[in-house]
């Protein structure tokens, strides 16, 4: 009969003779259950009270006294608060101390070799687990021994009078499954700590064709210098027929000390890594570029109109050669009147003349208040004999990148893998101990098989069924 041994019986000893109160407190699984439930409740709270970015709106609706309580308890960023970390710390202590507390007993069970002639497993043995075969005791024992060698570990054999006993076991490694699960929880915690101490979380927008060497840290809102330069060579976005975005793609070049070292394509869900820093495609947008398209008419006896593409900030000669001009400000939308540029003309002699030029000049004329219209600042013909027209700004895409370094992440993944493996072992494998008893009787050799398991009694029953069938097979009996 398979009987179900509980390990707890054997593992009580250590914590009793440990007089240390802290050890005693942290070595109980009662504490584990309490901590797990407290963490669950606290996390529920965290989903009800808006955290971080969402918190400002919520905070405005609280009265001052409540606000005081909420902020002093760090309820708006509770997952990073001291008390939440203390809770996690207690869980980790619990995990470590409990595992240390129980490990010696597990180890003992792992190396133990129970007596082959134990009778307790055979109490209440169902009749189908015993059968008779013909043969001498020696022959029978040899055959059983051979089968045991091929199937079990830590085999022991003993002869007592007309009895012969065999012991063997299977799956003793599964005793450690639960330690792997617990170790994996610790690894995940260590990995996330490592990430928060030695990593960073930043973002940057790069205009197509431009390059950056600093990124903005999210938490501290400080710029951070990278040891290299990233250039966005090209940004593309594809759309479905219904207008929803299908794919974003940034073609990036990485430069170290001005030298191009790598070219990589970045897509959503396909981050790229360079020198330990990972880039993610997070967003995109368009921004006015630095290139401005202007129409410049020269209203003399022979009027001319010139189309020009000029870069903001660069001085360009006037078409008639009376001096130079440059675009000193570019606005995508100014006072809801659309695109506009601020132009500064520097004549060969005299003072510079600055004025705004609107793309929708006529509309601007209607919308501007009277005094402003009079001001030369808003007159596109302020510099005689020229009139400036703005054809448009060449807008450019920028790509929005999430920029991270997280040295803890591989530890977290190792922890996750270990957790799955450990859970699998803990749940589906068990330590089966098997005894076989041979007894010489008048009708022949009587063979009985019995066993114990630390868990999964159904699995043990199946194991015993298979064993009995194969034992019968050895002696030419049909299973």
């Amino acid at each position: 009969m398979a009987f179900y041994e509980t390990i707890t019986v054997m593992t009580k000893s250590k914590s009793k003779n440990q007089s240390n109160i802290i050890w005693g407190f942290f070595s109980t699984v009662k504490l584990t259950i309490v901590l797990l439930i407290i963490l669950a409740i606290v996390s529920i709270l965290g989903t009800l009270v808006p955290q971080e970015q969402g918190a400002a709106e919520f905070a405005r609706r609280l009265n001052p006294a409540m606000l005081q309580i909420f902020t002093s308890l760090d309820l708006f960023d509770m997952y990073h608060s001291i008390w939440f970390r203390v809770l996690i710390g207690c869980l980790a202590m619990n995990l470590i101390i409990c595992s240390m507390d129980k490990f010696p007993a597990t180890w003992k069970r792992f190396i133990a070799r129970p007596e082959p002639d134990r009778t307790k497993p055979f109490d209440n043995l169902p009749p189908e687990q015993s059968f008779l075969v013909q043969g001498t005791p020696e022959e029978t024992a040899n055959k059983v021994n051979k089968l045991f060698q091929s199937r079990y570990k830590k085999i022991r054999e003993k002869e007592v009078g007309a009895n012969r006993f065999f012991y063997g076991e299977k799956g003793s490694y599964s005793l450690f499954g639960v330690y792997f699960v617990h170790l994996s929880v610790l690894l995940i915690l260590v990995g996330s700590l490592a990430g928060s101490f030695f990593g960073f979380d930043a973002y940057v927008n790069i205009l197509e064709g431009e390059q950056i060497d600093t990124v903005m840290l999210r938490k501290a809102m400080n710029p951070l210098n990278l040891e290299f330069t990233v250039r966005c060579d090209k940004f593309t976005v594809d759309f479905y027929e219904n207008g929803a975005p299908k794919e974003y793609r940034s073609d990036l070049s990485f430069l170290v000390k001005g030298k191009e070292v790598a070219k990589k394509s970045l897509l959503v869900n396909h981050p790229v890594e360079f020198m330990g820093i990972t880039f993610y495609q997070a967003s995109y947008g368009s921004a006015p570029g630095k290139t401005v398209r202007l129409k410049i008419s020269r209203n003399t006896a022979e009027p001319t109109v010139t189309d020009m593409r000029v870069e903001a900030g660069k001085s360009t000669a006037l078409p008639g050669g009376e001096g130079k001009f440059k675009v000193i400000d570019v606005r995508e939308d100014i006072m809801k009147m659309g695109q506009a540029v601020l132009i500064s003309v520097q004549p060969d002699q005299g003072k510079p003349v600055d004025f705004w030029v609107f793309k929708q000049g006529k509309m601007a004329l209607k919308m501007l208040p009277e005094p402003m219209l009079k001001s030369p600042k808003f007159n596109p013909s302020a510099f005689n004999p020229y009139t400036f027209f703005l054809d448009g700004l060449e807008t450019k895409f920028y790509t929005g990148l999430q920029v991270n370094r997280d040295p803890g992440v591989s530890i977290v993944w190792i922890g996750c893998f270990l957790m799955i493996a450990g859970l699998f072992v803990t749940f589906f494998l068990s330590h089966n101990r098997i005894w076989v008893h041979l007894l010489k009787t008048d009708q022949g050799m009587k063979i009985s098989a019995a066993g114990t398991a630390n868990r999964n009694p159904v699995g043990l029953e199946r194991e015993l069924e298979h064993l009995t069938r194969d034992l019968k097979g050895l002696f030419g009996k049909k299973g």
Binding site: T8, L36, A40, K246, V268, N269, H270, W413
Partner: protein, 279 residues
């Protein structure tokens, strides 16, 4: 589209299966339960075909993706996993009374998907962030976990009902429910399977979030609720494995756990977050 038509018929087939299972217990007629099994099998088969059709149709529409990407598709998949797991349990235990408690869950999921005015059965194109094999494994593992917890919820209800059974009452319905130790064992097995799947689901979800957003854990409400569910079931497993709790207490804890599963799935829609089903 053909797939949503088949799926709405499947809803009725599951309802019929539920009715047969229920009547079989009320009237104590085994033959009705057998019809229930046949109906469940037909429903499961039709639903499998419809899901595959939907997958194929999404490719003919030029937006090809696995059919697990919006609330409609996830509800359909949820019902499918419940029925699949249930059929396995019925086949392994040779007992059809579980059907009365499990098929209504699959029916409700299908009915909600097919008849709620807020849920569109259209095949929608995927935004770039959702195009990931990790996301597919995330959805599959999560829903097998949810389905195992749904079955465990059904077994827990049966356990609590069975406690009312006694000689004096002589109620056929209660007598037909299997014995308490069988229910307790099955309940625990489902919790264990569900926990393993939920763990895998959370991990695959983190891997996906890490490749899409650069962070494997961001405490968004859906993530946090899945962690809450995980913590609850972890404490159930410890109470049982280490402290030896059985029966009624585990049944009640399992019902609480399933409430958390439902909140993770639906309730979170009322809290803001990243997850696509939330919008």
């Amino acid at each position: 589209m053909l797939n949503s038509i088949i799926l709405s018929y499947t809803t009725f087939v599951y309802f019929a299966a539920f009715m047969f299972y229920l009547l079989a217990m009320v009237m104590n007629r085994e033959i009705l339960a057998r019809i229930g099994t046949v109906a469940s099998l037909i429903g499961l088969l039709a639903q499998t075909v419809a899901i595959i059709l939907r997958w194929v149709e999404s490719y003919t529409l030029g937006v090809g993706h696995a059919p697990f990407s919006n609330l409609y598709e996830s509800l359909v998949f949820f019902a499918w996993t419940i029925m699949l797991l249930y059929m396995i349990v019925e086949w392994r235990t040779k007992n059809r009374t579980f059907g009365t408690f499990v098929t209504p869950l699959a029916f409700l999921a299908m009915a909600y998907a097919s008849f709620s005015p807020n849920i569109s059965s259209q095949i929608q194109p995927l935004i770039p962030a959702l195009k990931s094999n990790w996301l597919i494994s995330h959805v599959i593992t999560c829903f097998f976990g949810y389905a195992a917890f749904a079955l465990s919820f059904g077994f827990s209800l049966m356990y609590l009902l069975k406690r009312l059974d006694n000689q004096k009452r002589n109620n056929i319905f209660l007598q037909l429910i299997p014995g308490r130790s069988i229910l307790d064992d099955l309940n625990y097995q489902m919790i264990v399977v569900g926990f393993l799947m939920l763990t895998l689901g959370i991990i695959t979800g983190s891997v996906w979030a890490h490749s899409a957003w650069g962070t494997y854990w961001s405490w968004d409400p859906k993530e946090t609720w899945s962690l809450i569910t995980w913590l609850i079931y972890a404490s159930v497993i410890h109470s049982r494995m280490v402290r030896g709790w059985k029966g009624k207490r585990i049944a009640i804890l399992s019902i609480i756990g399933f409430a958390c599963v439902l909140f993770t799935y639906f309730g979170v829609n009322y809290l803001a977050g990243l997850h696509s089903y939330a919008s």
